[in-house]
């Protein structure tokens, strides 16, 4: 892979997109369990109480933020704006603002998960 900012952005959008698709399948599959009765649904939810899935939730937050912010960047570029600043848009909007939003969401999620376990 060529090591240029646009390629990083392109790859990030694809990887987070695939991650979100995987989440969507899991989500629909779990919700579908409702049709099999409350017990089946509770059993399905119990599967997600594993600490690993808490980390998964935090990773999901990162994927949503990065995918959404890079999506805004791509929309701006497709509308013909900021072509000369596409790399700066990626590092400042997608990565910079994304990191701030991620920390604002991930820290409470993490603390809440720890407190709940205790």
């Amino acid at each position: 892979m060529i090591r240029l900012t646009g390629m990083y952005a392109h790859t990030l959008q694809r990887v987070t997109g695939l991650g979100l698709l995987l989440y969507l399948f899991l989500h629909v599959r779990t919700i579908h369990k409702l049709s099999e009765g409350p017990q089946a649904f509770d059993e399905a939810l119990a599967f997600f109480r594993h600490p690993l899935f808490k980390l998964g939730e935090i990773a999901l937050l990162a994927a949503v933020i990065l995918h959404a912010l890079n999506g805004i960047r791509i929309t701006l570029l497709d509308l013909g704006h900021a072509h000369g600043r596409q790399a700066s848009l990626f590092w400042r909007l997608t990565v910079g603002a994304g990191a701030v939003l991620f920390l604002a969401g991930a820290i409470p999620m993490f603390l809440f998960a720890i407190l709940k376990v205790r």
Binding site: I2, R3, G6, M7, L77, D78, H83, Q86
Partner: protein
């Protein structure tokens, strides 16, 4: 003088033979092209690469330097900031020998957009006056300097996966011809550009082409401009 390890790709008859490293002494202002000449002169006369003008005008010496397509004659070795210079053939093009590639696939796509000027009034003897202040000149400023080096073609991630894709340089060329108020061949160019498998819609706005263009042409801007013009369903209005 600084010492560099020049790691060059070796290839013969379309078969890759790995990389070979040669030690080369270069002055601060010397370029990667000078390094390639030093390899050929001092180490292996059979080492093959392309070059012609040596001043960034012809585009012949485009190669992949440390993973990024660039003109060897315009890339100073000191600007790379590394003691090793890795030189490989341009990606997405068939290798003839060592780092020399065949530009045939590039020009095959180039031909598909009817790159030549097709005058509206071939019989006219009058000079067409296109003022520098006209919309055409302002819009195409900075897009007319393509030297067909193929760096964009080599850097394009879409081209790497789709042999049919026109590539950034051909699309930019089509835009210049379509925007030219003296030109009439709109239909064949639009047909090529609107093709689902080869046209502008394949571009994923990666900006690799723009990032590597040695002439600083915003090729992605040309592609996005065409996409928007085509979506407006007034595929191309000649600019005054």
């Amino acid at each position: 003088m600084s010492s560099y390890g020049v790691r060059v790709a070796r290839n013969q008859g379309g078969i890759g033979r790995g990389y070979q490293t040669f030690s080369v002494e270069l002055e601060d202002r010397m370029t990667v092209l000078d390094a390639l000449f030093a390899v050929q002169r001092d180490h292996d006369p059979s080492f093959t690469f392309r070059c012609a003008c040596r001043v960034g005008m012809c585009g012949t010496c485009a190669v992949s330097i440390n993973g990024i397509p660039r003109l060897a004659c315009r890339t100073r070795a000191s600007s790379l900031g590394a003691p090793e210079i890795v030189v490989a053939p341009l990606p997405n093009l068939p290798v003839l020998k060592d780092v020399a590639v065949s530009m045939e696939p590039f020009f095959e796509q180039w031909k598909r957009v009817t790159p030549g000027f097709r005058p509206k009034h071939p019989e006219s003897k009058e000079l067409a006056i296109v003022p520098a202040s006209s919309q055409y000149m302002r819009m195409t400023g900075g897009k007319r300097d393509c030297i067909t080096c193929g760096a964009c073609f080599g850097a394009c991630g879409v081209k790497a996966t789709s042999g049919e894709y026109l590539g950034p340089a051909a699309i930019n060329r089509a835009l210049l011809r379509l925007a030219d108020p003296r030109d009439e061949a709109v239909a064949p160019r639009m047909k090529a550009l609107d093709s689902e498998r080869a046209g502008v819609w394949r571009c994923h706005t990666q900006f690799n082409c723009t990032a590597v263009c040695p002439k600083g042409i915003s090729l992605t801007d040309s592609i996005v401009w065409l996409k928007r013009a085509m979506l407006r369903r007034a595929p191309f209005e000649k600019l005054p």
